[in-house]
């Protein structure tokens, strides 16, 4: 395996046909994910005021908490960019550091989300309390599951990086994980707007 970093091309993620295929396939995958989240958003928007006597968004949402979660997640997108820049410099230590921070920020976001869900649950806001409740937990929960998938994926990749080093096999994986992470953050921007801002003040 090509452990000699000086022989690695500047963009190791697309140096092989396998790498090129993976990058293209991943963009297509994200295109499908757009439809997936688009359908969930459409469902949520259709049901966002169907409270059926259950708690409303205005009663539930604490924008301060959501703002902190947003800050954590958007910062983690930035740190993953630093990670990919480190990869392009062939700086493995930098990759470990920046992707490590990305994972920590993602885990912190998840912690806040779990706290938030528990809090709502105690306020009587459940999957079965209203169509709004079902739509809320499904949309936000799907995003949360994506965050969990992303942090698990990046953490496993870091173990591989420690073992195998940066190669034309490991590089595409980091590049794709970073793309995925940006996408998950992008979806959160829409959730922040459509679910929380519109729910609280819209």
């Amino acid at each position: 395996m090509a452990q000699n970093f000086t022989s690695l091309p500047a963009h190791p993620e697309t140096a092989t046909l396998e790498g090129k295929n993976k990058v293209l396939a991943f963009w297509l995958f994200l295109g499908g994910e757009v439809v997936l989240f688009g359908s969930l958003f459409a469902t949520f928007i259709a049901l966002r005021t169907s409270y059926a006597g259950g708690p409303t968004g205005q009663e539930l949402f604490d924008l301060g908490l959501v703002a902190i979660a947003t800050l954590l997640l958007l910062t983690s997108s930035l740190t993953s960019v630093f990670g990919v820049q480190a990869m392009h410099r062939h700086d493995v230590a930098g990759m470990q550091r920046w992707f490590g921070i990305t994972v920590l920020l993602g885990v912190a976001f998840l912690g806040l989300e779990i706290y938030e869900f528990m809090h709502y649950y105690h306020m009587g806001h459940t999957m079965s309390s209203s169509a709004f409740g079902s739509a809320f937990y499904t949309l936000v929960g799907f995003h949360g599951a994506h965050v969990l998938g992303g942090v698990t994926w990046i953490a496993l990749l870091q173990m591989q990086l420690a073992k195998k080093g940066l190669t034309v096999v490991t590089a595409p994986k980091f590049y794709l994980a970073s793309l995925y992470w940006h996408f998950v953050d992008l979806v959160w921007v829409f959730i922040f707007t459509v679910v929380y801002l519109m729910g609280k003040v819209g």
Binding site: G31, L47, A52, S134, T138
Partner: protein, 609 residues
């Protein structure tokens, strides 16, 4: 990279672990063919029940189960997989590729489809099949009105759908990134073009059904309220999401059929396809419009005249590119040296049949008329004319045409023609009278009708036709057996055909092309034949070819989801954890162990031949 030992695997283990797209194509054909027979049997039982008025063979619930499983099986477990069989068997060969972009994912896609389909069909034995119609409209499919069958529907289709979606991405990447040198997009064979557009539709349509099934699953299993009006739910959301998927789905089915017809008609007319660039344009336009018209399934829901008008006009627009295609096929035949082989009989039979299906489609797209046709046998006649008269005819054409390339033997022509006539006549006997039954007021999805209302003759003829189609299918099966045991060995190019798959041996070697061919025009092989050559000019020297290793992981990953499916529907979360855990562990193993593959050296003799 070191040369690794050539893994030799035989028997069942070989089929469970294969990542060869040609073998996966055969697996899709066997599994899809198996489900086609089951779906056909369900149809025949329904037609027997409806042969005479007031029969009491399959009444009420059991008829509803037959009806639901017939539709679901035929669309998801027969039509789609047989398309995937042809895609897998042919597309990499048509573009001069050694393999698909992701052989492992290809295998995973197959096993997800197969085990998802198996899960769905096990419902017959484990608590009753789904009975809410293949569209599973709420509130019929809600937990108040239907039993466990719909749980099987929700979970089985979800697993199978993921497999199809993966396959769509794989073929998009394969066609974009792995074409032979010189094979530009405007030289791509029509079948590959249609698979390309179909794969794009799969990519964008399947997530919509993923979401619809998730919502229904949450309602049924986890106390969700999406479709619970008392809690603010709205059942029309199901209809929108289902048809956002469901309408593109019918184009996912019909576009590859158009592709097959283009190949077969061009080959057996000995002419290049008439209006190639118009055909490409029409294919892309149909794919695009296919996404814009889902509301025409919901004209009677009450979305208002503006919505109905817009979707009505968009629907009618599809007739324009489809008409372009029909005329181009006719002009391809015009002045050609037509050979009526079995494959071409199916293709020529397709033309008038599909035109009838298209015409009734335009009739249905007029909202005031649709209020009359809605939920009557007229609709049943219409969609069977498009899906059976269009797609199934094209699949039979494609199977007769490509059988030599898939199996190395030519299907018996006489049996092929006998099968065609039984099926073709039977098809029209079955579905033509249904137009009139519908106009006379017979509703769809009913298990009986009353005497002396003018519905006896039409229903009787329709059932006779169903028997004739069954005979046609059995003749085809007999043909397959006869061909397998003592069929004629096929040469590389038995039909004097035009595209790259016919330049290599039948069946293709595991590495497809010993040397990647250089493409110099549309119908690459024909271009070389016209230049007086017998084979393609290679684009690279002869050398070692890298092949991916076989793997059992796709099968185990799919098995994990299959097991988790049972856990979900019985609320047995230990089983869910075992199932999902198995899948996740396999994903982990796949990620940490890089597949080095192995190398083969092309057979020198074969290359010289």
């Amino acid at each position: 990279m070191a040369t690794h030992a050539h893994p030799k695997r035989t028997g069942l283990w070989d089929w469970l672990t294969t990542v060869d797209h040609k073998k996966i194509g055969i697996l899709y054909l066997i599994a899809g063919g198996f489900f086609f027979l089951i779906g056909g049997l369900e149809a025949l039982l329904m037609r027997i029940q409806l042969m005479y008025p007031n029969q009491e063979i399959f009444v009420g619930g059991s008829f509803n189960q037959l009806l639901t499983m017939h539709g679901t099986t035929m669309i998801f477990l027969a039509a789609m997989p047989i398309i995937f069989a042809l895609m897998n068997a042919i597309v990499p060969l048509q573009i001069g590729a050694r393999d698909v972009a992701f052989p492992f994912l290809n295998s995973l896609g197959f096993w997800l489809f197969f085990l998802g389909g198996l899960l769905l069909n096990l419902s017959w034995f484990l608590g009753g099949a789904p009975d809410a119609g293949w569209t599973a409209y709420l509130p019929l499919s809600g937990k108040n009105y239907s039993g466990m069958g719909v749980d099987f529907y929700v979970l089985g289709l979800q697993i199978a759908g993921i497999g199809t979606w993966i396959g769509g991405i794989n073929f998009l990447v394969t066609i974009i990134n792995m074409r032979a040198p010189g094979l530009t997009f405007m030289r791509l064979p029509m079948f590959t073009w249609s698979v390309f557009v179909t794969s794009a539709l799969i990519l964008f349509a399947f997530p919509a059904i993923t979401v619809s099934l998730v919502l229904l699953m949450f309602d049924r299993l986890f106390g969700g309220a999406f479709f619970e009006p008392a809690l603010g739910g709205n059942i029309v959301i199901w209809q929108h999401l289902f048809w956002v998927f469901g309408h593109p789905e019918v184009y996912i089915l019909i576009l590859p059929a158009f592709g097959v017809i283009s190949e077969v008609i061009a080959t057996f007319s000995k002419k290049r396809i008439f209006g190639y660039s118009a055909m490409v344009f029409a294919t892309v336009l149909i794919g695009f419009l296919g996404f814009m018209v889902w509301v025409h399934h919901m004209f009677t829901v009450g979305l208002g005249p503006v919505a109905n008008s817009l979707f009505s006009i968009a629907t009618m627009l599809i007739a324009v590119p489809t008409g372009i295609k029909i005329f181009n096929w006719l002009f391809t035949m015009w002045g050609g040296q037509i050979r009526f082989t079995a494959a071409n009989l199916w293709a020529v039979g397709f033309l008038p049949t599909f035109v009838i299906g298209g015409m009734t489609g335009v009739m249905l797209s007029v909202p005031p008329a649709d209020y009359q046709f809605h939920d009557s046998y007229f609709v049943v006649a219409h969609f069977h004319y498009t899906i059976v008269g269009g797609m199934v005819f094209a699949l039979f054409a494609g199977l007769h045409y490509w059988w030599p390339k898939m199996f190395g033997k030519i299907l018996n022509e006489t049996l092929g023609k006998i099968g065609f006539w039984f099926f073709f006549i039977g098809f029209h006997l079955t579905f033509f009278p249904q137009h009139f039954l519908g106009l006379m007021g017979m509703p769809r999805r009913v298990f009986t009708f009353l005497p002396n209302q003018g519905l006896e003759l039409g229903n009787f003829i329709s059932t006779i036709g169903a028997f004739s189609m069954t005979i046609g299918t059995l003749v085809f099966l007999y043909n397959v057996i006869v061909t397998a045991t003592r069929g004629e060995k096929a040469s590389n190019d038995p039909w004097d055909a035009r595209t790259l798959e016919w330049t290599i041996s039948s069946p293709a070697p595991e590495y497809n092309f010993a040397q990647t061919p250089l493409v110099r025009g549309l119908d690459a092989f024909w271009v070389e034949k016209m230049a007086g050559k017998k084979k393609m000019t290679p684009a690279e020297p002869l050398g070692e070819i890298h092949m991916p290793s076989p793997s059992i992981l796709p099968f185990i990953m799919s098995l994990g989801l299959f097991i988790a499916g049972f856990g979900f529907m019985h609320h047995a979360y230990l089983i869910v954890i075992i199932g999902l855990g198995t899948t996740v562990v396999c994903m982990f193993l796949r990620s940490i162990y890089d597949d080095p593959g192995y190398h083969v050296h092309p057979d020198e003799e074969e290359v010289k031949a």
